[in-house]
């Protein structure tokens, strides 16, 4: 709840009283003004000189609430290939969406019409691109419309939110995003704001939408008036921030402009949230037009707040930021954003550290968790790529799986922050798996990048599946984005002060000046306190009787300027007393007690963390060779023969080399070519073609013998017809690969056929059908020869043999 704004002069727009998410004037109802838009206006920011466009089904440019701010230069009709983005009118008002979104951003204020936009002095345009076939070209044209002129693009659409679609931008749209952030706004980067998704009821997950999941878009989710999860909310780790939106029938709705010059309270879903954030960013760009696209994301991360938003998964990441899969870093705070924007110094250059691809295949057994870790130094050896402080993290994976919806994927950072990259999706029956799909998380923002990253994949079937059909993690890699230096070391209050003074008061509109005065009056109304201070207050006195009103502290101060400070006798769990500064300082994440701020100063750990006595750190997962002792919250060592164990020191799950797992114990293993039988414990020989195996069967080989070949999961002396042997680095044996179509044998590259199947003839290393081109005449062959078709492999079937034989 926030202070009621008694000094604020109300607007005459008829739906202004219904805009509960913007202001708080009604003494008879609860206030929900935590987005602090009014306070940002009172500081003088209303979006002036900022250009926003809505990528959607058009914009009603003559709507009386939009006409004043409508900007034809920020508009285009991609569907009709002309300059006019007016929507196509039909009986069902199908194309109302863009007009509704535009109102949220820049409906005019005090014009006795509908509502007041968040950036009511910004210029607003529309790109009409959803009213026709949407293709990669259409999307690239829309995303790349006038990047030097348009500052902010707001999109509230995407692939189907049906819980079974995995789709994202094509190659052109991807390039358009990249061009936008590199060259848009004179090199500062276009700002792309995206609605995170509406498929909550369908169990959809926004990580399956490549637009919201992109590092170039600001993915925005929604909360209801009471801070609940709306029915349409999709969860994912790429959501950065949240706004209020529509809720249940007993909660208040959002109002905006509507098609046919009308107003509406029927704009629902997460699509409201993207233009709201676009409007708030417009205020920030007015405060500081030099902000880059990454500055804007940093600002949102820094200023958004969990507030009263209800989510079961709020957690504090390794950089001390509260984050959730429902709401990202929380509700946007327009005032905090403009205040920070004003004094912001551009963050250091973005570095990208691309990890090596882990190509070791892992089968994913049903109802089990596959856990694979990678250790990275975050490219510390390459100064241009070194990432010390994280921004976005991408995990690129390829997974084969008989039912994609049964998969759940998590990533744990070196600081122990666990992001859910993918939740199970009940409706996704696809067997396509994921092919080089990029899952993105912002949950590690600000953390240190170097260390061990752990990927966990679980296969929990919704329905009974064929047990022989297992999923396989084929490949995964990490892409770390961030900076080599601390992104906030450049911040300077001097910068903000000098910029404030530079602004001549004549440049301000009358209404803005009035806001400033209002605020000044509030400050001047304060009176000096002369009563007794709290016993924990120090010698400088206080502003009131409570411990949070001291001007300094006798023992320790707890909290910050932003969250509020109070004086305490001793520091609570999770903090340590800094006696020189008389402050309670936060222990490193996960520490319940510590001797200092660093990661390795922990002496006891919070619930959910375990104390690693060798490093004095608190970790969520004990490293290999240790198990989690729940009672003592410690990592205890496994038995010396175990590589990994669980619950007890001799309850092994993985053995060290040379040992075999028998009933949770690691016993001396069998030599290569033998496998272990449990009762009585003895070693038996593998199949003759196996080097190592887990049993006597032909399909129980793990590795083939040196002279044999792996052919469709069996070890065979030679590859069959239509296959060729290929050497793979790290494997002692060769693997049989399929030759090109119609070859019965081929060379070691697999590309050149040596013999053909029946009915095909060998020509230039390819097998072509023998019965083609009976009717090729001289003119036709001349065309084939003059275009050199036979020199190109895709056209070798193109009558080449007939024409060559014909001379």
């Amino acid at each position: 709840r926030v202070r009621r704004d008694h000094h604020f002069v109300s607007f005459n727009d008829p739906l202004w009283p219904e805009m509960w998410y913007m202001h708080c004037e009604d003494n008879n109802s609860d206030c929900r003004s935590e987005m602090n838009v009014l306070a940002a206006w009172q500081r003088g920011y209303t979006g002036k000189d900022v250009v926003v466009t809505i990528l959607d089904d058009g914009i009603e440019k003559h709507h009386p609430d939009l006409v004043q701010n409508y900007d034809p230069r920020a508009s285009y009709d991609v569907n009709g290939d002309d300059e006019d983005p007016t929507p196509r009118y039909d009986a069902s008002n199908e194309n109302k969406h863009g007009t509704r979104c535009a109102g949220e951003v820049a409906a005019s204020a005090n014009n006795s019409n509908c509502i007041v936009g968040i950036a009511y002095n910004a210029r607003i345009g529309g790109i009409r691109m959803l009213d026709g076939d949407v293709t990669d070209v259409v999307e690239a044209k829309a995303i790349g419309t006038k990047p030097e002129y348009i500052h902010i693009y707001s999109a509230s659409w995407g692939p189907d939110d049906d819980g079974r679609t995995v789709d994202g931008p094509g190659p052109l749209a991807k390039q358009a995003f990249e061009q936008g952030i590199k060259k848009g706004r004179r090199g500062r980067g276009s700002i792309f704001v995206w609605a995170s998704g509406n498929g909550g009821r369908e169990g959809d997950h926004c990580s399956c939408d490549g637009y919201t999941n992109s590092i170039y878009t600001i993915s925005v989710s929604s909360t209801t008036e009471n801070g609940n999860k709306p029915w349409y909310l999709e969860e994912c780790a790429s959501t950065i921030a949240t706004t209020y939106s529509s809720g249940a029938f007993y909660e208040r709705q959002i109002v905006t402009t509507d098609l046919r010059k009308r107003c509406t309270d029927g704009h629902t879903g997460t699509s409201v949230s993207a233009p709201m954030v676009a409007g708030i960013i417009a205020l920030a760009l007015e405060a500081n037009p030099l902000l880059t696209w990454r500055d804007v994301q940093h600002l949102l991360v820094k200023t958004s707040r969990p507030g009263h938003l209800l989510a079961p998964d709020w957690k504090t990441n390794g950089a001390g930021r509260r984050v959730s899969h429902l709401y990202g870093f929380g509700l946007v705070d327009a005032e905090a954003l403009v205040v920070e924007a004003k004094k912001w110094r551009t963050v250091p250059a973005q570095h990208i550290c691309v990890g090596t691809s882990n190509k070791k295949p892992w089968f994913i057994p049903t109802n089990k968790t596959v856990r694979t870790a990678t250790l990275t130094n975050a490219c510390v050896d390459h100064p241009d790529h070194h990432v010390a402080y994280l921004e976005h993290v991408i995990v690129r994976v390829s997974i084969a799986h008989p039912r994609r919806g049964d998969l759940q994927i998590n990533l744990t950072s070196p600081s122990g922050t666990k992001s859910q990259l993918l939740a199970r999706r009940q409706h996704d029956d696809s067997s396509n798996g994921f092919k080089h799909w990029e899952f993105m998380t912002v949950h590690c923002w600000g953390e240190r990048a170097a260390g061990e990253w752990t990927l966990e994949i679980q296969d929990k079937p919704y329905h009974v599946r064929n047990p022989d059909m297992q999923g396989k993690l084929k490949e995964w890699s990490l892409i770390l984005y961030g900076t080599a230096e601390s992104p906030y070391s450049n911040s300077s209050s001097h910068h903000s002060r000098s910029r404030m003074l530079e602004m001549p008061s004549s440049d301000m509109e009358a209404s803005k000046a009035a806001f400033f005065q209002t605020q000044m009056e509030i400050l001047e109304d304060e009176e000096e306190y002369t009563g007794p201070c709290h016993t924990e207050c120090g010698d400088k006195g206080c502003d009131g009787p409570n411990a949070d009103q001291c001007l300094n502290c006798f023992h320790f101060s707890l909290g910050s300027l932003k969250t509020g400070r109070k004086c305490v006798n001793s520091c609570p769990p999770g903090y340590f007393g800094d006696t020189s500064q008389r402050k309670c300082r936060r222990c490193y994440r996960g520490c319940e007690a510590c001797l200092g701020r660093s990661q390795n100063s922990c002496t006891a750990c919070k619930r959910g963390f375990y104390h690693h006595q060798e490093t004095n750190t608190c970790v969520m997962l004990c490293p290999a060779g240790f198990y989690s002792d729940e009672g003592q919250r410690r990592c205890q060592k496994c038995h010396q023969n175990c590589k990994k164990c669980v619950g007890e020191m001799d309850k092994c799950t993985v053995c060290k080399d040379g040992f075999s797992l028998v009933d949770n114990s690691c016993v001396t293993g069998c030599r290569p070519g033998m496998y272990l039988i449990k009762e009585p414990v003895r070693c038996e020989g593998c199949q003759s073609n196996c080097r190592t195996c887990v049993g006597p069967g032909r399909e129980e080989c793990i590795q083939c013998a040196r002279n044999s070949h792996l052919h469709e999961w069996r070890c065979v002396p030679a590859c069959g017809e239509g296959f060729y042997p290929e050497e793979l680095r790290g494997l002692p044996h060769k693997v049989c690969r399929r030759c090109e179509d119609n070859c019965s044998s081929c060379d070691s590259s697999g590309r050149k056929c040596l013999r053909c199947k029946e009915g095909f003839s060998l020509l230039s290393g390819s097998c072509i059908a023998s019965d083609r081109c009976h009717n090729a005449d001289e003119v036709f062959c001349e065309m084939v020869k003059s275009n050199k078709l036979c020199e190109r492999k895709p056209f070798i079937q193109f009558c080449c043999r007939t024409c060559l034989l014909a001379g």
Partner: protein, 86 residues
């Protein structure tokens, strides 16, 4: 059932040599050049009126000849993407 891919009679073509060269190529192979694709340099939007407007099969025919032209670095027949307002 998974929806089938729907191919259109629009192409994205990467052409070296600037807009004049793109225009020349489009004319030579029977396309209409609808101009550069947004802010992507060297990428042009071609339309072929004699190809079926929406098809579940990708088109070949003259488009393979365009692909073979040494000035063409990349070519992609446009597919309809299902996009939903939120």
């Amino acid at each position: 059932r998974r929806p089938r891919t729907v191919y259109t009679n629009h192409w994205a073509v990467r052409v070296l040599g600037g807009p004049d060269e793109a225009h020349r190529l489009a004319s030579a192979y029977g396309y209409l050049n609808l101009g550069q694709i947004g802010s992507l340099e060297d990428y042009y939007h071609f339309h072929h009126s004699k190809t079926i407007k929406r098809s579940t099969f990708s088109s070949r025919g003259p488009h393979n000849f365009l692909r073979m032209d040494p000035k063409v670095r990349w070519l992609q027949q446009q597919e309809v993407k299902r996009r939903v307002k939120r």
